[in-house]
């Protein structure tokens, strides 16, 4: 018996799978993953990566799909509503606000990066980029305003502003069209297009041969070897930072704990197969990351620049190194355009998913329609994006919000999800709920994995992350030392490191947003209490 009163729905199973996969596939698949794998020695990293995929990736994914659909049956589509309904406790709603803060907070800066991708695609297409004479690192710094706050505010073709407006218009047009006619329609087109473009680029990279006879060692096989050759596997697996990197990559790549799957799954019914859908969306993300991303960016960079030229992290690889690679490649202007179009499509499918939890929250908390909720969310996110756009020096605002919201809070939310599923509700009840409408069953061993292994692994990784990235732990158990990192010192300051006003403002903005969401949740409480008392309860 279903008691839900849904206003929106997915139109097909493949549609929701594409939407969830689109949410997960992003810049990290093509830029962050290859860099991490190469840095920690291909073989050992992949072992830790696949173990993390099984223990935390797949587990939290199934938990989130299940909790989302369960909450949706009671008419809730937002994280606060779903938590409140399932746990039947008013405090649970406030725990759930993290599931709104994360997608809204991340959207504020992610859409800015999305604008870079569109800008680079257009600039390759129009010939502004693609020549070996261009100073690409300087161009990137100029384009995004890394040298001075406020520098990126402008609407020229070589400035980011025009593209910020374009991506905002596209995102809000699609989100306004709704779940099936907006998000689903776009993802059903964008995901196959993204995979097709990626395959074209992979074929191009794998057929590059030895493009520069002066450097015969820079060839395809050595490029692949740079990415995949295992080092000393046993020694590397003993390095805690490798596990932190592998687990972190899985965690953030799959978008688990983001709050998005919770909302997306809430529009499904008991007849929908969430076990297979969850696994399919996960496998699509893994195919894009390992199968395509692992064969594309880093080998290409090595072939043209050698091992010394392949450095700079996610943004460095994507916007400094790869444009140089395309500039030196035959038909590089075309492939440069295709690559940044690929990144743009991956970014749009992700950013769209970040808006739906906020829309769902405002609609059900304030009892307003889609037009008003889209307007309110637009005002909120535009404010945040303007902030990130203006405070562009060293990308301080972007980096700070990414660290505290896009990393720290996701760990918190992921941990809450798996504990609620395995310990508060219980794996038996949870599995029974997950299996409704499913053609395949979750293997029984996942009962133990989700109850014990996953929370323990996740908490271990979380505390290690806090130690390394917040407290500045040197990752040594024998001689531990702590020197608070820049993220911490930016907020609290020290004699050598004065606090950063921009970092403090960034965190302050997120706190204000959290308070705003908390107040709305409180005001909506009476209506939600009435709904929960008649329809909720998973325990």
């Amino acid at each position: 018996m279903s008691t839900r009163k849904t206003s929106e729905n997915w139109s097909s199973r493949l549609g929701v799978i594409m939407a969830v996969a689109g949410s997960a596939v992003g810049l990290g698949n093509f830029l962050r993953f290859p860099g991490q794998a190469a840095q920690y020695g291909g073989g050992a990293f992949m072992i830790a990566y696949f173990i993390s995929l099984l223990i935390i990736g797949v587990s939290i994914c199934w938990a989130e799909w299940t909790l989302g659909r369960w909450g949706g049956r009671y008419g809730f589509h937002s994280s606060p509503g779903i938590f409140g309904a399932l746990l039947r406790h008013p405090a649970a709603r406030y725990v759930g606000i993290i599931g709104v803060i994360i997608p809204c907070g991340v959207y504020m800066y992610y859409v800015y990066i999305e604008a870079w991708c569109l800008g680079y695609a257009v600039q390759f297409l129009t010939g502004h980029l693609g020549s070996p004479e261009v100073d690409y690192p300087a161009h990137f710094a100029h384009f995004v305003g890394m040298n001075q706050d406020g520098f990126a505010i402008g609407l020229g073709l070589t400035q980011v502003g025009l593209f910020v407006i374009a991506v905002y218009a596209l995102n809000f047009y699609l989100i306004y069209r709704g779940l099936s006619r907006g998000i689903e329609m776009f993802c059903k087109f964008a995901m196959p297009a993204l995979i097709a473009i990626a395959l074209v680029i992979v074929v191009r990279v794998l057929t590059l041969g030895t493009p520069n006879p002066e450097f015969p060692e820079r060839n395809v096989l050595n490029g692949l070897g740079f990415m995949w050759n295992p080092g000393n596997v046993g020694e590397q697996l003993a390095n805690p930072q490798l596990w932190l990197a592998a687990a972190g990559q899985i965690f953030f790549s799959l978008s688990v704990g983001f709050g998005v799957i919770l909302t997306y799954a809430s529009y499904l019914t008991d007849r929908d197969d969430i076990v297979l859908s969850g696994l399919t969306a996960t496998s699509a993300n893994e195919f894009c990351e390992v199968g395509l991303g692992g064969l594309m960016t880093l080998p290409a960079a090595f072939i043209y620049l050698g091992s010394a030229g392949v450095a700079g992290g996610t943004f460095g690889l994507g916007f400094n190194v790869l444009p140089i690679v395309f500039a030196n490649m035959p038909f590089g202007q075309v492939f440069g355009f295709l690559f940044f179009l690929l990144l743009f499509l991956a970014a749009v499918t992700s950013s769209l998913s970040m808006l739906q939890p906020g829309i769902a929250f405002l609609e059900e908390a304030l009892g307003i329609g889609r037009r008003m909720s889209v307007t309110l969310l637009g005002m909120m996110t535009v404010t945040g994006t303007m902030f990130v756009w203006y405070y562009s020096k060293d990308l301080k605002a972007l980096d700070t919000i990414d660290f505290w919201v896009g990393t720290f809070l996701i760990f918190v939310q992921g941990t809450i999800l798996v504990i609620v599923f395995a310990w508060v509700i219980g794996t038996e009840k949870g599995f029974a709920e997950a299996h409704k409408g499913s053609t395949m069953r979750i293997p029984r061993v996942f009962g133990l994995v989700m109850k014990y292994l996953c929370p323990a692994f996740l908490l271990g990784i979380f505390f290690m992350w806090l130690g390394v990235n917040v407290l500045g732990w040197n990752a040594s158990f024998s001689d531990p030392q702590f020197n608070p990192t820049g993220y911490t010192l930016d907020l609290v300051g020290s004699e050598e490191h004065p606090p950063s006003a921009v970092a403090r403002l960034s965190v302050g903005m997120i706190v204000v947003m959290a308070l705003f969401i908390g107040i709305i949740t409180h005001l909506a409480g009476r209506r939600w209490n009435a709904q929960s008392s008649t329809r909720g309860g998973a325990q």
Partner: protein, 55 residues
């Protein structure tokens, strides 16, 4: 590229590609009940709102 590199790459890429293809085939070949095709059965409120605005 060393032998270990080949093994690592083929196992990793092969596993994710195989899993993805298996899932897609399973999704496509598993019959979807007509009731699941929500969007084709009735006009959802967001679609209705859009149609009215366009009309």
């Amino acid at each position: 590229m060393t032998l270990g590199g080949w093994i690592n790459m083929l196992l990793s890429v092969g596993f994710v590609t195989g899993l993805f293809l298996w899932c897609i085939v399973k999704v496509i070949t598993t019959e979807e009940e007509p009731e699941r095709m929500h969007g084709f059965e009735f006009e959802t409120p967001d679609e209705k709102q859009s149609r009215e605005e366009e009309g």
